[in-house]
Each structure stands twice: as C-alpha cells, then as structure tokens.
Amino acid sequence: MSYEIFKINEELKEFMPQEIVDLEEKATWGNPKRGVMDLPYAKELVEEHSLCAGCPESAAFRYILASLPNPEETIIVNSTGCTSLVFPHIALHTVHSLFGNQNAIASGIKRTLEWRFPDKVKDVVVLAGDGATVDIGLDCTLQSFFRQEKITTICFDNEVYANTGGQESGMTVKGQVFKMAPKGKQFDKVPMWQLAIDSGCHYVVRMTVSSPKKVEKVIKQAIYVAREVGPTYIHLYTPCILEIGLNADQGLWEMRQTDKERFKFFEYMTDEAKEVIKRKKEEGLI
C-alpha cells in the first residue's frame, strides 16, 4: 500500500495526537536513500523507548529504523526480552509472539507476503536479543538460514539475559560471573557469526553500534541481499550497561573499547551478495 497508509483523514486530523500527525508530515517515506543523517530532522519511526537510560539498544533501534530502505513495506519481527518493550513504539507492523520463535514467524510472514503480493517487495527483518537468537531460538534461527529464507536477522548481543535480571547466556564471555553462572561461565562465547556463515547466510556482519553511518550501510546491504539472494545476519554488540555496572553515559565508551577486540568489525559476503551490493552502490542506494 506504501506510505499512503499513514495519511490521516483530513476531518480527523485535528483530533490526532501530534506524533501521529508527524508520522504523516515529517517522517521519511518513499526514499530509499534515507539514513541516519535524517535523524535530527525527520520524525523517527520509533516514538520513545522503555529501555534503561543510555542503553545502547536504544541507539541501535534508532539507527536501524532510520536506515531501513523501504520502511513503508517493512515488517519487523521480534522476540521477548528488553527489546520487546520497544516494539509497541515502532510505527510499522511488528510482531511479538513467543520467546525464541522469531525466525519461524518471520519465515511464515515472508513466504505468505510473497504469495499474496507477487508484484511487491516486502522486507521482513528480525530483531531479537542474544538469548532469543542463540540460545532458546537457535534451532529456529539456523533452520531459517538452512531453508534460505529471504529475511534479515539482527541480533542485539548484550552478552546476557538482561530482561530476566542478568543471567548467563551462550553469548556471555567465558569466566564472566552472572546469575546462573555463580562460578563464572564455563564455556566460550558462541561464535554465532561463524554459525551464520556455515548455515548459509549470504551476508554476515559482526560489529558494535558505535558508528551510526557504518550501521546504516550494513543494514542496507543486509536488507538488499536478503531481498534478492537469501538470509543475512547482523550481530551487534549492544552492551547491557545495567548488568555490567556502567553509567548511562558509558555505553558508547564500552562499545569503542570492544571495537578493537572481540567485536572488531567483521564482514562476510558470498559472490551473489557482492553482486547485489555492487549494483546497489552503482544505483546510489548504498
């Protein structure tokens, strides 16, 4: 339907909350070149958030939503966790159903939309925590990669089960003491980006969200490749400042530290992905 759906009936406009009116008048629709540079000027697609003050996940949300090339045709699937509290504030169709089934839900949605709208491009993007993506949902995550579902999966890795109060997850680093790991974690951080490559993803990135422009580029590339080729996976470090004892203004600092070590920028792409990215660059879309 496109962004026409955000047009408000003129007769009702005076009764609408300002944020809804702004969505029609000030958001960036119909412009695949939109990006993080719009952030200070355009109406954002996330209205507010209910994360802790300074939580890097909130920055990640804003960058990702500002970078979607086709928001008017984008469906976002999420899972349970700190992030799930943000989805109700997103001005797009989002789904929360269960904890860990996000890639299964997304598979059903993507395939059915392809069947119902053969002449349209509808992007399906999964956004979930590390517990959801790598622990409880690993089966659904990897199986969607094996099946070559044309969806983009983004993992918010805060290296902990944050929403349930700070328990060890598969993404916690070895030795870290958390709840349920009172002697420190006994095994290594799961190399999820490598599993994604081995499981058939065509574009895989591991990074922190310390650099908005870089996040924009990666999100666009991942979505364009998923559209045409197959599954893509982005693994983002979004530290849980609450559980590692940092202040609200220290998230960026923490990410910059890890930029140089375990979250050093890593990018993988298949030849088919390269071709898409090259073409999109030539078209001026990346």
Binding site: L92, S97, R111, T112, L113, K122
Partner: protein, 401 residues
C-alpha cells in the same frame, strides 16, 4: 436487461461458491478413501494460502497430500518446518500475514508445539489445525488415544471432534468459515482419532473439485494483518506487558475473556454449518444415554443398537461435534428423561466425562458413569460398552458377550 452475475475464480482457477452451496447444495459423488485422503480433498476445495508440515504418525500422509496440492497449484505456500514448535510458529506467521492457513499434527507433536496454541488464540488467528490424535509418550506409543485433546481445551482455540472421514471433510471446510467470522476469529482444531479415521477407508460423498470456498479476506479481521497494507493498529502499539498498572492487568484479563467469548460467539455459525453442535441417535424415550465424541460416538451408536434390540435396554446416544464451544445447553435439553449417563472414551483420564459433569453439576441428579475407557491403542468394541451398561444396571447379558 437482465443482471449478469459475476462468476469468480480463485487463484487455482476453481469457481468460487458460497460455503452453503459447497457444504449443503452442490451435487455429491461417492468416493472410497482414507481420512488422510479426505483432508486433501477438503483442502483442495478450501482456497488455502499456506501450509507448513512436520512428519509424525499418523498425520504425515495428510501433510504429504497437502504438499501435492501445493505442487498442483491449489495451495500457495508449503514447506517442511524444523519441528512442531517451529511449524506452529511458521503457520502463525502465515496467518498473521493474511493467509488462510492449515497444518496437521499428532500426539507428541501437539505437546512439542504447545506454547503456540494460546498465542494463536491471543493473536486472533483463524488458523486450522487438523489434529490426528495419538498417544503421548509415557512411554513411547504411536497408537490411537485422544488424551492430547484434553490439553488443548483451554488454549482459546475452538475444538471440534469428527466421528468419521465424512464429518472430517465437512468440518475442515466449515472450520475455516466459522473461524474467519469477524466476530469469532480464533483458531479451530478439527480433531479425529488417529488411525481409526486417518488410515481406514470409508465411503465419503464429495462435491466436485472445480468449486471452492471464497478466498479469505484478511481485511475483515478484527486484528489487522501484518502486511503493511493498513496503518499499524493500536494493539501493536500497546501490548499489556508494557505497563504494570491496573489498566494493563484489567485489559489483559478482558482480552482473555474476549477470546473465550469469541468461542461462544461461534455457536450459531457452528450450529448452522455443522447442522447442530450435537447429534442425537436412537429412541428419544430411552432412559440410558451414552454421551460420546469422535469414534467413541460411532462405537456408542453400535452399542445402543445392541442394547436396545438384543438386550432389551433402550439406549440412545448424544454425540458431541464441538467440545469448544461445549454444547452444555444442548446436552441438558437432550437428556430429558435420562436415568443413566455413560461416557465412553479413548483416553485414560476421561476428559469428556469431566466436561459433562461440569455442565450438568447441580442441574440434574442423573448418575454419570465415566466408563468404559480404553487407551494406548486399544479398540473399543461396542460389546465393551454394552457390558459396562449391563453391569451398572445389574443385568445379565442375554446375547453377545
């Protein structure tokens, strides 16, 4: 000038007809087929958009056959999922995206998928699950047993129970029609007793296969489909977990009541398309009443004939077609002059007896006997029911046993 009527076709090229025409008026032809094959015939005439499958006996064959329909162009989306948990989420995705969706499972598959069913109902998805009941693992069994139906009764899904392949055919078609009513819009589980129905061949009467149900219109749904074709709905923007306050608690409570009310609102539709929520069989004056559903209903009918004709004990049957909604009023009315109620079942816990007791409590003093019960693959010959009735009545068997 005479008005020309617009003939419509679905994406498979079948002529679209009204549910009433398809179910009640279209000419029918006799076929001899298994319950699994009947699933294929029903899905073929249901303008289905999507199906996802996973192997488990005894439902696998039905799922294979839906796959054939996909190859033949009658179903839009079809694939094998990774597990029943995955599959029930995948079909949820298909339904959320606005597709008419069906899947099938059995026993351990149902339990593996369990977390999904209340989510389907709470998301108001008019999904259909054809449940071919089998035992659950305590220990491993693949035999007929319908214990699992008990676990599904409080998920917020409608639960119907077919007696034979013919009724399964009607229920699959009616299931979509009822589940998709805007004032209902909750999932429907059409259950059969596995093997007895799925794997045995019987005569069924089928309408032609070049006609089909009208396609699903997701824009009539009480919840917007997840397709970015209409403005995001309020529900998407305000889940109850977001606010820890009394409004949130109250709205979550009322949402749960609303899902149950939606099942109640399905009554008139189910009554119409299933020709009643119950079937009464036998001499209406008989004082011995057998209440049963599924294949136990068929066995009860045989037993009622033996009891009435050979043993001199006039007996009748109240067979339930729907378990959710539960036809409590209908049962109460049908009981009339009953002196004894027996509830034969294919499971050890007696979920139907429990349901019957619940609705009859305080309304009648007729003794309710939760027996006989067979499970784990045992059959229930009518003689077992006859014996139980005669024993309770303190009578000697004159004939068969």
């Amino acid at each position: 000038m005479q008005e020309t009527q617009q003939v419509q076709y679905n994406r498979a090229g079948q002529r679209v007809v009204s549910p009433d025409y398809l179910l009640f008026e279209a000419p029918r032809e006799k076929q001899f087929m298994t319950g699994s094959e009947v699933v294929k015939e029903a899905v073929k005439r249901a303008s289905v958009d999507a199906s996802v499958s996973y192997p488990i006996t005894p439902q696998s064959e039905a799922a294979h056959l839906i796959g054939e329909l996909w190859v033949e162009g009658y179903v839009g989306v079809y694939f094998r999922g990774e597990s029943e948990f995955g599959v029930m989420s995948e079909v949820a995705g298909c339904a959320m995206a606005g597709g008419r969706t069906i899947t099938t499972t059995s026993g351990p598959g149902t339990l593996r998928a369990m977390e999904n069913f209340p989510m389907w109902a709470g998301s108001r998805l008019p999904l259909q699950l054809v449940l071919m009941a089998r035992g659950v693992n305590s220990p491993l069994t693949i035999q007929p047993d319908n214990l699992e139906i008990s676990f599904l009764l409080d998920t917020g899904c409608m639960v119907w129970h077919a007696e034979n392949a013919q009724e399964l055919f009607e229920m699959i078609l009616a299931g979509f029609v009822v589940a998709e009513q805007p004032d209902v819009h909750v999932p429907v589980i059409t259950a059969i007793d596995g093997f007895f129905i799925s794997h045995t061949r019987e005569a069924v009467m089928l309408p032609p296969d070049d006609i089909a149900l009208p396609p699903y219109d997701p824009y009539k749904a009480p919840m917007p489909p997840i397709d970015m074709e209409m403005a995001p709905g309020r529900f998407l923007r305000d889940p109850y977990v977001m606010k820890s306050n009394y409004i949130s608690y109250a709205s979550h409570t009322s949402w749960q009541f609303e899902v149950r009310s939606a099942i109640e609102r399905s009554r008139p539709y189910a009554k119409h398309y299933l020709r009643g929520l119950i079937e009464e069989f036998g001499n209406p004056e008989a004082e011995v009443v057998l209440i049963a559903s599924g294949t136990a209903g068929a066995q009860a009918k045989e037993a009622a004939i033996i009891l009435s004709e050979d043993e001199g004990v006039p007996t009748r049957v109240i067979r339930l077609k729907t378990i959710r909604p539960f036809p409590g009023e209908e049962i109460l009315q049908a009981l009339r002059n009953a002196k004894y109620v027996f509830v034969p079942e294919f499971n050890v816990i007696g979920w139907l007896e429990r349901e019957v007791r619940r609705v009859l409590y305080g309304k009648t003093d007729v003794p309710i006997v939760g027996s006989p019960r067979v499970a784990g693959g045992m059959t229930m010959p009518p003689e077992v029911i006859v014996k139980e009735v005669l024993k309770t009545l303190g009578k000697e068997a004159k004939h068969v046993i």
